[in-house]
């Protein structure tokens, strides 16, 4: 089974230690949510996995080949139409023009965009539409690893639920692995199979919550109840500064470290 393993990840920005001894495992078809207060190094961790940052020290093994990234801002190329923005990753892979436009148009239809929107530039689209295009730009690649950095944080409830459904569909069809950063505990409970809690100074993983109920059986009531329970747990209260206390590094739950492959 394809997987991503990270052990002993350390990263420094100048004198300050941003990440210390971070380790995690992520398997195909699994969704992992990273939660924690602002500035705890979540985005840095995601950028390291995406290959945008080179960490100070790390052991990483990654079988995933196709990578899709969605950032907090839609970050569409302002000089490209919706269709070309959706097809950006496909173009980078060398997919011929006609084929990539066909795939992008198909994705746009799944995202609920009208045909007339395909020819528009980002400044002509609403914020919600831009977010959809940004997610579509990642999904159209059918990636086996999706890295999401708070992609839903600026959206209204209706649009969020729509995009959650689209994301779940992708995970079930393609067995994609998802690494999701979020501030929103309810979003984490709704989407993730496991939730990893991070704390700052230096950024480290301190606790893992496992949600073993299948996604199809997760009702609104279940999501609300579990979010409430999570909010009341000792680790979350300490991590977000609501209670005083000490948290220690969590060991990755999926088995022991079986030697370094890279």
């Amino acid at each position: 089974m394809n997987a991503l393993h990270i052990r002993h990840l350390y990263h420094r920005f100048g004198p300050s230690e941003v990440l210390a001894d971070v380790g995690l495992d992520l398997y195909a078809g699994e969704s992992l949510a990273l939660v924690g207060p602002s500035g705890c190094g979540k985005s840095t961790l995601l950028q390291i996995v995406a290959g945008l940052l080179r960490p100070s020290r790390m052991i990483m093994h990654c079988d995933f080949r196709g990578l899709g990234c969605v950032f907090q801002q839609p970050s569409l190329m302002p000089w490209m139409t919706t269709l070309d923005n959706l097809a950006l990753g496909l173009k980078a892979l060398g997919v011929p023009r006609a084929a990539r436009h066909r795939q992008a148009a198909g994705m746009a239809a799944r995202l609920g965009l009208a045909v007339s929107d395909l020819d528009k530039y980002p400044h002509e689209l609403s914020g919600g539409m831009q977010s959809r295009v940004s997610l579509g730009r990642a999904l159209v690649l059918a990636p086996d690893l999706l890295l999401l950095d708070e992609p839903f944080s600026a959206l209204d409830v209706g649009l969020r639920l729509e995009l959650y459904a689209l994301l779940r569909e992708q995970v079930e069809q393609r067995r994609s692995a998802v690494l999701l950063i979020t501030h929103d505990l309810m979003e984490a409970v709704r989407l993730a199979d496991r939730i990893l809690l991070m704390v700052p100074e230096p950024g480290r993983l301190v606790h893992e919550f496992v949600l073993d109920r299948p996604h199809a059986e997760r009702s609104e009531a279940w999501v609300h109840r579990n979010t409430g329970e999570l909010m009341e747990s000792r680790e979350v209260r300490i991590a977000f500064g609501l209670d005083r206390g000490e948290l220690h590094n969590a060991a990755p739950s999926h088995g022991e470290h079986r030697g370094c492959q890279i």
């Binding site: 990234c69 970050s75 190329m77 020819d119």
Partner: protein
């Protein structure tokens, strides 16, 4: 298929829209001509010939074949100086923008160059190059270079970091990084600077020729001034302005609209 047809349709609409917006500009120009005609009638044709008299004089100049050669000579000098400035300014500006040190070093120099009056350069050029072609060409180059250089540097420095991250995350190959990220961004800075440089180049070439050469529009203006021939002077001025307006509004502005479609809202 419909989406495919929409692109030319929108381009056609934009072109018609652009031409239609020309009526406003034309009205404003005609109002100016009316005021000019009025002033001409008040002061008499010796001081200020009206627009009709000026156009008649210009036609006369074209008919006896004395208009085209000076215009071609001036256009050639403008083109040489401008092309050199656009090329050198764009390339060096982009390179300077890539490095923080180079940008810091060149910023005060650009301010200095922009502040230096072209007439001062002209005096220096006359001392260095004498009374030939090189003097106006050099003056045009040195007047346009800092404008283009500053814009290119600004364009290279202001590339959105977030977009760069997206490009790297989606593994854009180097060729695509250039064509789909750097080029469109930098062009949005360069193009307006090119248009400004074009206007500057025409003004400077006429001034340089007036003082330093024996041919070209500037030299012809000097002759008509010496003969106290106001109508011919105005005819030359109108010819130069017409060339400038023509190249800007019929060539550069539509080109700019095409290149920067993503900036302008077609249905405001």
């Amino acid at each position: 298929m419909r989406a495919w047809l929409q692109r030319p349709w929108r381009a056609l609409l934009a072109a018609l829209n652009y031409l239609w917006s020309g009526w406003g500009a034309l009205t404003s120009l005609l109002l100016f001509c009316a005021a000019w005609e009025l002033a001409g009638q008040v002061y008499g044709t010796l001081i200020l010939p009206g627009p009709l008299a000026t156009l008649a004089q210009l036609k006369l100049l074209f008919d006896d074949g004395s208009a085209l050669p000076p215009l071609l000579i001036s256009a050639r000098r403008t083109l040489y100086g401008l092309a050199a400035a656009l090329l050198a300014g764009s390339l060096l500006g982009l390179l300077a923008g890539r490095s923080l040190t180079a940008a810091m070093l060149s910023r005060p120099l650009v301010t200095l160059l922009l502040g230096m009056p072209p007439i001062a350069w002209l005096v220096l050029a006359m001392l260095w190059f004498g009374m030939g072609d090189a003097t106006p060409v050099f003056t045009v180059f040195i007047a346009c270079f800092p404008i283009v250089f500053a814009a290119a540097m600004q364009g290279a420095r202001t590339l959105d970091n977030q977009l760069h991250k997206v490009a790297l995350a989606y593994r854009l190959p180097p060729r695509m990084l250039f064509s789909d990220l750097y080029l469109p961004h930098v062009m949005s800075y360069l193009f307006p600077a090119w248009v400004t440089a074009l206007g500057t180049s025409w003004k400077v070439v006429v001034m340089a020729e007036l003082l330093s050469t024996s041919d070209g529009v500037g030299a012809a203006l000097a002759v008509s001034r010496a003969q106290l021939d106001t109508a011919t002077s105005l005819a030359w001025i109108v010819a130069v302005l017409a060339l400038l307006l023509g190249s800007e509004y019929l060539l550069l502005e539509p080109l700019k609209r095409q290149v920067e479609r993503w900036r302008v809202d077609p249905n405001p």
